[in-house]
């Protein structure tokens, strides 16, 4: 019964150490500008943001949702309900990975019925997190519409899902990792792109080569990557929480 803590288990989690070969694709200012633009887009698309409820997906989506709400409030001088939506119990890969600790679900008072719910996550990848979030929403109420805002869209969708608001489109290879660091959770704002993730046990003394599909030993399940050549492992990408 060793559950992974959301903070250090998710691939977007962990300490934002300057990983070898990691390259910052967005710095703090750029993240802020992207969020400000998304805030305006949300207001525009929802005609003033009257019925909007923002729901962040733990862990990085929650601080992003709060920041977005602050910006919308600043622009329109109205308060926006913000909450969080944990999707752990709705994941499609629960059986194939170790037990996960649950994140927090907080639905703002007033509920979700007839609201325009904007889901917020850090990275859109396979789309499986969003699929799970849509299932979770269905059990919580009946929103009038559901939209999706992400800070980074890195491509490689495995489901017919797209984002309504995107901070940055980032073409990536499946061998690369996208890590979003936020001041609230990691102490600094940055979006990092790094080459294939080494497994934690080998982080220190081994640089993964491109030919090595990241040593798929069972003990590295936490961080295993889908390799492009291996279509038989369709979902591990979602274990990364990066989608």
């Amino acid at each position: 019964m060793h559950a992974r803590k959301p903070a250090d288990g998710d691939a977007d989690g962990g300490v934002p150490r300057a990983r070898e070969g990691a390259r910052a694709v967005l710095d703090g200012n750029e993240i802020n500008r992207a969020l400000t633009r998304i805030a305006h887009e949300v207001l525009e698309r929802t005609k003033g943001g009257e019925d909007v409820t923002l729901l962040g997906i733990p862990s990085r989506g929650v601080p992003l949702a709060r920041r977005l709400a602050r910006r919308i409030e600043r622009v329109e001088e109205m308060s926006v309900p913000v909450g969080s939506l944990d999707i752990t119990m709705y994941r499609d890969d629960l059986r194939s990975s170790p037990v996960r600790a649950l994140g927090r679900t907080e639905i703002p008072t007033g509920g979700l019925d007839d609201r325009v719910v904007v889901l917020i996550d850090d990275v859109l990848f396979s789309g499986r997190t969003v699929r799970a979030a849509l299932d979770a929403l269905g059990d919580l109420g009946r929103p009038r519409a559901v939209q999706l805002a992400v800070l980074v869209d890195r491509g490689h969708r495995e489901l017919p899902i797209r984002a309504d608001y995107v901070g940055k489109n980032l073409p990536t290879s499946l061998r690369e990792n996208v890590t979003v660091c936020l001041e609230e959770t990691d102490g600094e704002d940055a979006v990092l792109l790094s080459p294939s993730r080494p497994s934690p046990s080998t982080t220190l003394n081994r640089r993964p080569s491109a030919e090595d599909p990241s040593s798929p030993s069972p003990s590295t399940t936490l961080n295993r990557r889908p390799s492009a050549e291996d279509p038989s492992s369709p979902s591990p990408s979602t274990t990364e929480g990066n989608d």
């Binding site: 019964m1 060793h2 559950a3 944990d86 119990m89 709705y90 629960l94 059986r95 194939s96 990975s97 170790p98 037990v99 996960r100 600790a101 649950l102 994140g103 927090r104 679900t105 299932d135 269905g138 059990d139 919580l140 109420g141």
Partner: protein, 302 residues
């Protein structure tokens, strides 16, 4: 960890993880759809060799809220009444592919034995006078949500310790979580080995009460008593029963707990049982969330 057999097996982190998970799952009871898809396609067998309403329905509801399939199997009216042994019953369940077995048995250690025979997870729902881990966990959960903490909490467990599986599980768990437990009972109702337990022992309820944050009253288990342990129920009640007068001498924010079923007028007076400081119904509600947490942590994942 694959099974939940004893609270003594739980580390502080594991126990805290269960409580934290239960906190999140408690919200499910307030939603419009009180169901999560998490254990869809998994089978949980409730194997009850002893009568139980509360625990069995609680486990059943918890499993159903997680979308597991639940099979209730009670000793009465089953192959057990025809003489089948626990092992053969276990192998039958095994053959049917049970992912989790919740067992209550009158013999101490039954859950441990079962854990060696089946591949699925075994959850001890009470074995003889040994342990009842989910009860202790839900008690700790209730204390934490009522009082905000467990560390340093002073808990008095009062009554029939000798026949109580709840007492042992609570002593082990609460000690792990940093609370201080004092057992209060007449000497005849304490197990001989009680000095090896990580807790204090007192024979005098009135000296313990003013210093207790939580007092947990236990039922006198007459059905397990084959000799007399105290002169009369009236004398027991006078010395070890909780009435309004004793309640008034407890700290103001102290709570009264009872694992149920209560015998009003024996270990607890009706007045105390109905007071808002008594958490009995809260414990039942928390039991469902807690058991959901345990089922989730044991049965999901690989």
């Amino acid at each position: 960890m694959r099974h939940l057999l004893s609270t003594g097996d739980l580390s502080r982190d594991e126990a805290t993880l269960i409580l934290d998970t239960a906190t999140e799952l408690a919200q499910v009871g307030d939603r419009s759809v009180k169901k999560l898809p998490t254990l869809r396609g998994r089978t949980v067998v409730n194997l009850f060799y002893e009568d139980s309403t509360r625990t069995r329905t609680s486990f059943e509801l918890a499993a159903k809220r997680l979308s597991a399939d639940v099979i209730n199997f009670s000793a009465k009216g089953s192959s057990v009444s025809k003489g089948e042994s626990l092992k053969d019953t276990a192998l039958t369940l095994q053959a049917m592919g049970a992912d989790g077995v919740v067992i209550r048995h009158s013999a101490s250690g039954a859950a441990h034995r079962l854990a060696n025979w089946v591949d699925g997870s075994v959850l001890n729902a009470g074995d003889g006078t040994h342990e009842h881990p989910t009860q202790a966990l839900l008690d700790a959960f209730t204390m934490r949500s009522r009082l905000g903490r467990l560390e340093g909490l002073r808990v008095a467990v009062v009554g029939d310790i000798l026949h109580s599986r709840v007492a042992r599980s609570n002593v082990l768990l609460l000690t792990t979580l940093g609370a201080h437990v004092t057992l209060v009972a007449p000497p005849t109702l304490l197990p001989v080995s009680v000095h090896t337990w990580p807790c204090e022992v007192s024979y005098d309820l009135d000296t313990v009460l003013p210093k207790a944050d939580v007092v947990m009253m236990l039922r006198v288990q007459a059905e397990r008593m084959h000799e007399s342990f105290f002169p009369s129920t009236r004398e027991y009640s006078r010395n070890y029963g909780l009435d309004a007068e004793r309640l008034a001498r407890m700290p103001e924010d102290a709570i009264v707990m009872h694992p149920g079923p209560m015998v009003r007028g024996m270990e607890i007076s009706a007045e105390v049982a109905d007071s808002p400081r008594c958490t009995v119904t809260e414990q039942v509600a928390n039991g469902v969330s807690l058991r959901m947490a345990v089922l989730y942590l044991l049965l999901s994942g690989s």
